[in-house]
């Protein structure tokens, strides 16, 4: 973008910090996909997301960094840990976490990395931007969201509601589904809930047979 690109051989302090955080992120991501303990994978995911939040901070995206800490580290990893706990996964070291096509997938990943890194280095070798603080503060970002991006924001809230309802419907066991009343009586999990007061099923086509 600018004609005077600083040399790669004299990195600034921001670049050094970013590269260290990026190395932490990539290393912990490697540990996420190679560790043999399921819970450790979730904990290394915390390290990776924290390092990425640091990367966002260096790139002057403060609000995104804190949202990353709040949602990814605080909510998503906790959800993952709940999932690990509820599926009764082995806590200790387990040897069957990797499938048989490990070599092929490593090959595919290496090819992807080679192509992407080559293209990116070739394309953005001369791209340089000075970092000015305050570009991604909550004030600017909030003004941008609620002035320009209001419609996608509202659509996203509807999507979150749909995901919430879907998760509840998927994880409840006392919804009888499309089975007929006799089979629903024989189903194991109908603890006192009457089928008449419930919302009608979208697929009632089985009752007509």
């Amino acid at each position: 973008m600018t004609e005077a690109v600083p040399s790669y051989l004299s990195p600034t302090g921001q670049e050094i910090v970013f590269l260290l955080l990026g190395a932490v992120a990539v290393g912990s991501a490697l540990l996420v996909v190679t560790t043999r303990q399921l819970v450790h994978a979730a904990l290394w995911l915390v390290v990776c997301f924290g390092a990425l939040a640091g990367c966002y901070l260096v790139l002057t995206a403060e609000f995104v960094a804190w949202v990353q800490v709040l949602i990814y580290v605080g909510a998503i990893v906790v959800l993952m840990l709940f999932g690990i706990m509820l599926t009764r996964a082995p806590i200790g070291r387990s040897s069957d976490l990797d499938s048989g096509n490990r070599l092929v997938s490593a090959l595919v990943a290496l090819a992807t990395a080679a192509v992407l890194v080559t293209v990116v280095i070739d394309g953005f070798r001369t791209a340089y931007t000075p970092l000015a603080a305050g570009q991604g503060a909550a004030r600017e970002l909030g003004a941008s969201i609620f002035a320009t991006w209001v419609l996608p924001f509202e659509a996203l809230s509807v999507l979150l509601l749909a995901a919430l309802i879907g998760a509840i419907v998927l994880s409840r066991t006392d919804i009888p589904g499309g089975s007929p009343p006799t089979a629903a009586g024989a189903a194991p999990a109908t603890d006192g809930a009457d089928p008449s007061g419930r919302a009608p099923d979208p697929d009632h086509t089985t009752g007509s047979q």
């Binding site: 590269l19 990026g22 990539v26 998503i76 499938s99 990116v120 953005f124 931007t129 089975s179």
Partner: protein, 162 residues
Amino acid sequence: MHIVYPAVVSALLFSIGVYGVLARRNTILVLMSVELMLNAVNLNLVAFDVWLADRLHSGQVLTLFVIVIAAAEVGLGLAIVLALYRNRRTVDIDRLRALAEPPPATATPEPRTGLPPATPSTAPSTAPSTASSTVREPSEVAAEVEGGRGGGQAIRRERGTP
């Protein structure tokens, strides 16, 4: 800040996520790898937003949207995984192959499908037929992938045949 640095870091993160999706067997680990790929995209969005000095902050706003969509995706994915675990007692992707083509030769199901122990117990009580209660057809096995609904339909279809 050279833009190459965040771009290379995000490319490496994306490749690691690709490896995790392809090589892992546990479904929750696959979800974690998908999160790694989404984070690689987020890093790219933030870096290019800073580089282009976007007045509307499209990159950072889109990063927030991607984070929200990732949260919804993880919630739904874990609900699906838990429903799967309730029905099949396993979350190994390699064993969940009931949607594959049935073996062409015989009607005996392959032993790796991981059938739930609860669903066949209701079949002999509701279906007094003698032939179909012992040998399970592969189509019936395939119909049970849908969980309770498909199982109920398979039982009813079985009862209607004699």
